[in-house]
Structure formats: structure tokens, C-alpha cells
């Protein structure tokens, strides 16, 4: 379990993480979601004791990360794919990690095998593709067989097969009872991977709920209506107290399901050419939620 309590980090007068509190429970995948610059990586560095919180605290299974004598056996982390020396082989990278925490050397071969890079284990990692680098990073995270796994943007740069692999891995680790904390700026990916979401923007927690709850709350829907009697239909629906917006030749109706809209229009003897339920995507929901908190919003928006 990871517990953050009023965790704050400021750099000069810029507040990267603004008093956030959350817990990451074992046995499920918790997604840590936010746009770039929201404070995800800063938070993860504080979890691992790399950055010192300005105030507040964060503990892993009740202790500060830095207080563990062999932290790699407690928390495995993929921080950045390229936290590696390009001239060292994958096997040697894992060897020094194992040595640093008194982990038996046999475990090096195990994790190489687990992530499927045994064949290239003796190549220098500078020659690795992004995907192989990510796999090595995940091997490094798992070397201590830790009960808590932290993965910062693990699918960045991966091909579809690699993405599916990471997703399966995260789910399997959670099924084994581990605490799995995965950050991403991709809502759609998190919807498939995470059971629970902590959404942050500009260093604050915007949502902390199950993925299903998040979808129900934030993924809005409307009914698309097309009619040759466009104006009459719009007037009719508005008289029923519905929210109707005209977009070109279509009407977007909120507040009633397609069946209800169809019946209303049919009873008035008006014609319909289209009646469709449109769900906005999770990505849209995420965008809506974080719109105010995007650090560098595009000028066009």
C-alpha cells in the first residue's frame, strides 16, 4: 500500500504537487492519470525518496521508502526507460541492481526471461529499441520480487503488442496481490488497465474513484437527431425542457434517451432521418476534467 498525505513539492515559486492525499491499495491496478506536467513524475519520485517533499509525507507499507534497508525488495519502480548507462549490457545492469540489495544472482536470469529479453541480455542497452528498453526497465522493477510495483508511463513508445503485454503484466501483478501503481497521460489506456483511478491536474487530485465510477460520472452522452423538419423538431424538444443544441444539420439532445426522443417526435407526426446515441469518449471526459489544469494549453483552445 502506498499512502500520500498532504504531499507537496514546490520548485521556487512553482508548485508541482499541491497537498495531494491518496492511497494505493494492494490487489488492484491503480492508474495515476493526468496531463503532462500535472505532477505525476514528481509524485513518483517522492514515493521513491528521490525528491524530498516540501511538506507532507508518503509511505510505502507504512514506512518511508528511504528507511528500507533493501528497498528493491519492497518497491520495484520503472521510472524512466532511459535511466540506464547505454554502454552497459542488460545483464550487467540487472547484476549491479541485484548486488545493491543482496538479491541472489539467479534472479537476474529469471527476470530477463520473464520480460523476454534473454536473447539480447549481453548486448549494450544503447542499441536497444524503446520497447526493449522498457522491458529491461520492467525487469529491473521486478528484480526484488517486490510487493509494490510503481510504473511511470510504462507504455510510452511501445508497439501495440508491447502495450498489451504491459497491460497483462500489470493486471497479473495485481491479481497476485501486489500493489500496482501505473501512471499515464492516456485515459483510454488506463480505462483498460486500471481498476481504480487517481486523476491529477496542476498538482491537485481531481478524482479518486473506481474506473467504472469515473466513466459513469464523466463520460457524457447525447442523442444525435437529424430531421428534414429540423426547426420544428428543435422547438418541440425545447418545449419539453430538453437541452438542444444545433450543429450544422444535426441536433444534439441531452436529458433523454433515444427512445424517449423518438416517441416525442413520432407523436407530433414529424419525420426523423437519424436518431443515434453518442457517447463521448473517455479521452473527452478526461480532457473536460483536466481542461482547466493543463499546464501549457494550446493557444487555439
Amino acid at each position: 500500500m502506498i499512502s500520500a498525505h498532504r504531499l507537496t513539492k514546490t520548485y521556487g515559486d512553482r508548485t508541482a504537487v499541491d497537498g495531494i492525499s491518496f492511497t494505493v491499495e494492494p490487489g488492484r491496478v491503480t492508474g495515476f492519470l493526468g496531463p503532462n506536467g500535472a505532477g505525476k513524475s514528481t509524485t513518483m519520485r517522492m514515493v521513491l525518496g528521490l525528491d524530498r517533499p516540501t511538506s507532507g509525507s508518503v509511505t510505502v507499507n507504512g514506512r518511508r521508502y528511504a528507511d528500507y534497508p533493501a528497498p528493491l525488495r519492497e518497491v520495484g519502480a520503472l521510472l524512466e526507460a532511459r535511466a540506464l548507462h547505454p554502454g552497459r549490457s542488460a545483464r550487467d545492469h540487472l547484476r549491479w541492481l541485484a548486488a545493491s540489495n543482496g538479491i541472489p544472482r539467479t534472479r537476474v536470469d529469471e527476470v530477463l526471461d520473464l520480460v523476454g529479453i534473454t536473447a539480447v541480455a549481453d548486448q549494450r542497452v544503447g542499441r536497444f529499441s524503446l520497447g526493449m528498453g522498457q522491458r529491461l526497465g520492467i525487469a529491473a522493477a521486478l528484480i526484488g520480487d517486490p510487493p509494490v510495483v510503481v510504473l511511470d508511463e510504462p507504455v510510452n513508445g511501445l508497439d501495440p503488442e508491447g502495450i498489451r503485454w504491459v497491460r497483462t503484466l500489470a493486471r497479473d501483478l495485481a491479481t497476485e496481490g501486489r500493489t500496482v501503481f501505473v501512471s499515464s497521460h492516456l485515459m483510454s489506456e488506463m480505462a483498460l488497465t486500471a481498476d481504480h483511478l487517481v486523476v491529477i491536474g496542476r498538482g491537485r487530485v481531481l478524482a479518486d474513484c473506481s474506473t467504472a465510477e469515473f466513466v459513469a460520472q464523466h463520460a457524457a452522452s447525447h442523442v444525435r437527431v437529424r430531421s428534414p423538419q429540423h426547426d420544428q423538431v428543435a422547438t418541440l424538444l425545447r418545449h419539453q425542457g430538453l437541452d438542444v443544441a444545433a450543429h450544422g444539420g444535426e441536433l444534439r439532445v441531452r436529458g433523454l434517451d433515444p427512445a424517449g426522443v423518438g416517441e416525442l417526435v413520432g407523436r407530433s407526426g414529424l419525420l426523423l432521418h437519424e436518431l443515434t446515441l453518442v457517447r463521448s469518449s473517455l479521452e473527452d471526459a478526461f480532457m473536460t476534467l483536466t481542461a482547466d489544469s493543463v499546464e501549457y494549453a494550446g493557444a487555439a483552445r
Partner: protein, 271 residues
């Protein structure tokens, strides 16, 4: 390639916590698994032993005739002046390559006790440089002295300062490597660290010699490269320098101060 689902997961034996030597073993593995280490040490040996031998071979005759006007003792460690560059490079790289690649975060996540990380790095670096520097000086002496012996002006290992300069070369290399590592820890950038240390040792150390009066004389004596290098040669080309062990003590104190500042910054700074 989904190997996870089919894989049996077993908890790693966690009976014993890692001993105090765990950080040391990790740094040892890191040190010897990048190519810059063997390359730097090979360069040190070639420059230190090779140039000494070459220069002795070329100047043995003139030295024997007595028309050089420089002490013979200064020639048997001649190449060390150039070999010290490799100690600086190796020392800086041990630290700055981790910052350049982002590796430092992996290192500090594995060993959050930063003092232990620094101590382990320093121990691995200093031990290796001491051994390599001593062997290099010894090989240079053996090679160079063979030519000097032929002219009848060879030095015995038991002659005044000869054995001291062999061990002294190792000590000086170790100190210089630590100095570069400390500066590297402060600036976190390879080129900057090299520029600062090499500039201090080779450029500033020689420039202050032209300063007038007692001020210039003491600045010359106390510059790290000048103070520390006297111990690495039986007899110096520069008669102004401090006595070998006095100079080395001054050098060590300077290295200790920079290292202490670097350690203080390192333990407080965000990684």
C-alpha cells in the same frame, strides 16, 4: 510474448538484509561493466609507463653526459604528468555518466543512503586508481631505468625517493580521481567537470608560477596539481614545490574539503 501469465512467481529469499558491503559490490560491478574504465586504465598505463620509457630511452645519453641540467630522478616518472589526465577522466565519469544518463535515479532508488553510495564510489575509484597508478609508475620505472642503466646512471628501487614515488604515483592518482569525482558531483556534467579539474591542474597550476613575489610562490606550492604531484616523482623538475609528503598532505586536505562540500550537496539535493 506474454510470459507472465504462465510464469510461476516465487518470492525472493529475503532472509538476510543486504550487508554493509552491498553498495560497494554494486559500485564495483558498475565500475567494471562500462568500457570507459578499461580504456582509461589502458590509457593511463600507455601514457605513464610508455612515455616514461620512451623519454628515458631518448635522453639517457644526454643525461649521462650531464648536459641536460635536470635531475635523473625526474625522468623515471616522466609520463605520470600525462597519465594523470586519465585519472581525472575516470574520476569524473564515475559520477557524471550517471547524471548524463539518468542512472543516478536508479542508483539512489536501489541505495537511498546517499552517504553509502558516495563512500562506495570513492572506495572503488580510489582503490583501483591506487593500484593502477602504482603499477603504471613501476612499469615506467622498470622500462625507463633499463635505458638509464645502460648509460650507467640508473636508479635502484632502494635509492632515495624511488620506491616512494611508485607508491606516491598511486596515491596521487587516487587523490586526483576523488577530486574529479567530487567536482563531478557538484557540477553533474562531464565536460564541465573535466574543464574545471584539468584547468586547475594543468593551466592554472602553471600560470600561477609567473605571479610575482611570495604570493605567486605560495600559490604555486598550494595548487592541488602542484602540491600533490611531488610525491609521485623521486625528484621534481620544479625545485619550488613543497616536500613530497607535506605537499601530498596539503593536496589531500584540499580534496577532502571539496569532497565534503560535494557530499553535503549530494545528500540534500533532489535526484
Amino acid at each position: 510474448m506474454s510470459t507472465v501469465g504462465t510464469h510461476a512467481w516465487t518470492r525472493v529469499e529475503t532472509a538476510a538484509p543486504p550487508g554493509a558491503t552491498a553498495a560497494l559490490r554494486a559500485e564495483w560491478v558498475k565500475f567494471w561493466t562500462v568500457r570507459s574504465t578499461p580504456w582509461s586504465l589502458a590509457a593511463m598505463f600507455l601514457l605513464g609507463a610508455g612515455l616514461t620509457t620512451l623519454v628515458c630511452a631518448l635522453s639517457a645519453e644526454a643525461l649521462a653526459r650531464g648536459d641536460v641540467g635536470e635531475p635523473v630522478g625526474a625522468f623515471v616518472t616522466w609520463g605520470i604528468v600525462f597519465a594523470q589526465v586519465t585519472a581525472v577522466v575516470l574520476g569524473a565519469l564515475v559520477v557524471t555518466s550517471e547524471y548524463g544518463t539518468g542512472m543516478i535515479r536508479a542508483t539512489l532508488a536501489a541505495t537511498p543512503r546517499r552517504g553509502a553510495v558516495l563512500a562506495a564510489k570513492a572506495a572503488v575509484l580510489a582503490t583501483t586508481l591506487f593500484v593502477a597508478g602504482t603499477l603504471t609508475a613501476l612499469a615506467g620505472y622498470l622500462g625507463g631505468n633499463w635505458f638509464l642503466d645502460r648509460e650507467g646512471i640508473g636508479l635502484a628501487l632502494t635509492d632515495d625517493g624511488v620506491l616512494r614515488s611508485m607508491v606516491g604515483s598511486g596515491l596521487y592518482m587516487a587523490g586526483l580521481g576523488l577530486f574529479a569525482a567530487a567536482v563531478g558531483l557538484l557540477v553533474r556534467h562531464t565536460a564541465a567537470a573535466l574543464a574545471i579539474v584539468l584547468g586547475l591542474v594543468f593551466v592554472v597550476g602553471n600560470l600561477v608560477m609567473v605571479l610575482p613575489g611570495a604570493w605567486g610562490e605560495w600559490a604555486t606550492k598550494l595548487m592541488p596539481g602542484n602540491a600533490g604531484s611531488a610525491v609521485a616523482t623521486p625528484e621534481s623538475f620544479n625545485p619550488l614545490l613543497l616536500d613530497p609528503w607535506v605537499g601530498f598532505a596539503v593536496f589531500l586536505a584540499e580534496v577532502a574539503v571539496v569532497l565534503a562540500v560535494a557530499a553535503a550537496v549530494f545528500t540534500r539535493r533532489d535526484a
